[in-house]
Every structure is written in structure tokens, then in C-alpha cells.
């Protein structure tokens, strides 16, 4: 009995310390830090950094993909906006859906999206990715992209010119500065 009592009193002593440790651990998890930072002006600085390094995933899906690729080429020099094409989803911040999403390709696209680290954004490029475009009534395409991805920017056109895509990126940058993008609003 004595032993048990002793043990009990010891845990009573340890408990407040444990609480502090627990709180500390909770605070140092990434999401807790992010939640805290969101409430401070420091978030503006973070956003400034993020919006100026929007690396996009080179993942051409339809004819729009050609425009997307040449946007990343030297002629348009998107580096001046901090926009750089990346070939791996693990290094990318923005996924551009550049073309029709077929039902067969959907699982692969989802996988790419899941592999991208947070924070991440989606740009719908071209009529196909917005609503099916010319393949509106096809048996094999997905026409409601909105249901599957949190889309921030829609760029209409068939295909949109590279200038339009850059305009889309600039709009996304504005959204990030204004904290109106869907990642920051938690609307994903």
C-alpha cells in the first residue's frame, strides 16, 4: 500500500512539469507554429517569400501543355516573377492543370497532387480543365475539376497564350498577398 501511495504522490508532482512539456511539444509541431504565425504580421513576410517563389510542376496534359512548357522557356523569362518550372512534384508549389483530365488519368493526377508539399495551389489552364472544353460531352473526361482540386485561378482560352498564364500567376500572387487564396483560407 505504502509503495502505491508513494508512486501516486510522485505522479502528482510530475504532472505540472508534464503539462509544460506537452504544451511545448504541441507548440513546436509545424502546424501549431503555422497557426500561431498566421495571427502575426510575420505572415506577410512569409507570404512575400512564397508568392515570389511559385515553382510550378511541368506536367503537360493536353495541347495547353505546349503553351505551359514554352511559358517556362527563356523567351518569357518567368524567373523575374520567381516562377520556375520543376519536374518533380516534391519541389513544386503550383500545379497547372493544362488540358483535359481523362478518367483514366485522374488517379495519377491525384497522386501528383498528394505528393506536393504544402502550401500548394492549383491553376486551371484552358477550357478543358475548367469545364471540359471541346470534350464537354465525352464519355471519358472529367468536367468538374472544382470537385477534385481546390482551384484558385481559372485561365480561359483554347489554349491561353503564355502571357495569359503569366497573368494568372500574377493574379495568384495578388491573392496570396491578400491572404485570399484557398490554402490560407483553409478552403481545401
Amino acid at each position: 500500500m505504502g509503495e502505491v501511495e508513494g508512486a501516486g504522490s510522485e505522479t502528482a508532482k510530475v504532472r505540472p512539469i508534464q503539462k509544460i512539456i506537452d504544451a511545448h511539444v504541441t507548440f513546436t509541431t509545424t502546424s501549431a507554429i503555422h497557426d500561431f504565425l498566421k495571427k502575426t504580421p510575420l505572415q506577410d513576410l512569409i507570404n512575400w517569400g512564397r508568392k515570389n517563389s511559385l515553382w510550378f510542376l511541368t506536367q503537360p496534359m493536353g495541347c495547353c501543355g505546349i503553351e505551359m512548357i514554352c511559358t517556362g522557356a527563356p523567351h518569357y523569362d518567368t524567373d523575374r516573377f520567381g516562377i520556375i518550372p520543376r519536374c518533380s512534384p516534391r519541389q513544386a508549389d503550383v500545379m497547372i492543370i493544362s488540358g483535359y483530365i481523362t478518367k483514366k488519368y485522374m488517379p495519377a493526377l491525384k497522386l501528383l497532387w498528394d505528393q506536393m508539399p504544402e502550401p500548394k495551389w492549383v491553376i486551371c489552364m484552358g477550357d478543358c480543365s475548367i469545364s471540359g472544353g471541346p470534350f464537354w460531352e465525352s464519355y471519358s473526361t472529367i468536367i468538374n475539376t472544382e470537385k477534385y482540386f481546390p482551384v484558385d485561378i481559372y485561365i480561359p482560352g483554347c489554349p491561353p497564350r503564355p502571357e495569359q498564364l503569366i497573368q494568372g500567376f500574377v493574379e495568384l500572387q495578388k491573392k496570396i498577398t491578400a491572404k485570399q487564396d484557398r490554402t490560407q483560407k483553409g478552403d481545401t
Binding site: 481523362t102 478518367k103 485522374m106 460531352e137 464519355y139 471519358s140 468536367i143 468538374n144
Partner: protein
């Protein structure tokens, strides 16, 4: 040389049962054949008439019947021969051309998936273009109901 296409048709008519045929131009001809003769005809064409290239297999839906359409050409004499074979929709089975033309396997897989024409003797009628959940729906048939209708 003008009648080479016609000659081919006449040879086919002599040897096999040809129900309908037409000469579109000196080197473009087509014939409608009995479906059970397709393999024999293909063997005859490739062995004796130098038709060494199967350029495509298409398909069509005519309500009660499905039709396999073969485009067979030759590098040496340049005739494009179109063979059409109707099979009933209730039992759409036709012999595979893989023993004669190896590339038939790919076209047959596609026609099987999209129209449901089954090719007897194809070594591998495995899924090719459709996603797994759409297998067996035959979207290119006229009575296919799966089109999206969001309006």
C-alpha cells in the same frame, strides 16, 4: 495497272464469298465479306497478293450488327483494300488477324474495348484505353447511355 484494284476484288470474289464490292478509284477498293472467312482471306492476301501491311482496324455500330473494318495495304503495289465484316450484336465474335498481321493485336484490343467486338484467337485482349471502372461499357456503341448530362 489501272485495274489492279479491280483485279484483286475479282480474285477475292472467285475464291471467297463476297457479298458487296465497289471500286472507288484504281487503287482504292472495298468489299463486304462473310465474317468467318476473314482469316482465310487475310492469309491469301498476305501470302499471294503481297498485301503486307495492315494499316488499321476500325469498327462501326449498325444497330443489330457490329462491323469490323479492315484497311489492308501493300508497299509494293499501293492498293488500299478495305474489308468489311458484319457480326451480329448478340454474338459479336470474329477471328483474330494476329496469326497473319502481328500489329492486329493492338487494333483488336481497342475495338474490343470500345465496341465490344470479340476477336477469337487474340493472345491478349487486355484493357488498353479505358479506365478500369468503365470496362465492359462499350462507349462507342450507339446505345451507350453513360454520357454526362449536367444541364
Amino acid at each position: 495497272m489501272n485495274t489492279t484494284g479491280e483485279l484483286t476484288l475479282n480474285m477475292l470474289k472467285e475464291k471467297f464469298q463476297v457479298t458487296e464490292m465497289r471500286v472507288e478509284s484504281p487503287n482504292r477498293v472495298w468489299a463486304r465479306i462473310a465474317p468467318d472467312k476473314i482469316l482465310a482471306i487475310a492469309k491469301f492476301l498476305s501470302n499471294e497478293l503481297e498485301f503486307d501491311h495492315l494499316s488499321s482496324i476500325a469498327g462501326a455500330d449498325y444497330g443489330e450488327a457490329l462491323e469490323a473494318v479492315y484497311q489492308i495495304t501493300a508497299y509494293s503495289h499501293g492498293i488500299v483494300l478495305t474489308l468489311k465484316a458484319k457480326v451480329p450484336k448478340s454474338n459479336p465474335v470474329i477471328d483474330s488477324l494476329t496469326p497473319v498481321y502481328w500489329n492486329a493485336a493492338w487494333y483488336e484490343r481497342e475495338a474490343y474495348e470500345l465496341l465490344g467486338i470479340s476477336f477469337r484467337g487474340n493472345p491478349n485482349l487486355a484493357p488498353l484505353v479505358l479506365p478500369a471502372e468503365m470496362m465492359g461499357e462499350y462507349p462507342l456503341r450507339k446505345d451507350y447511355k453513360g454520357y454526362p448530362n449536367p444541364t
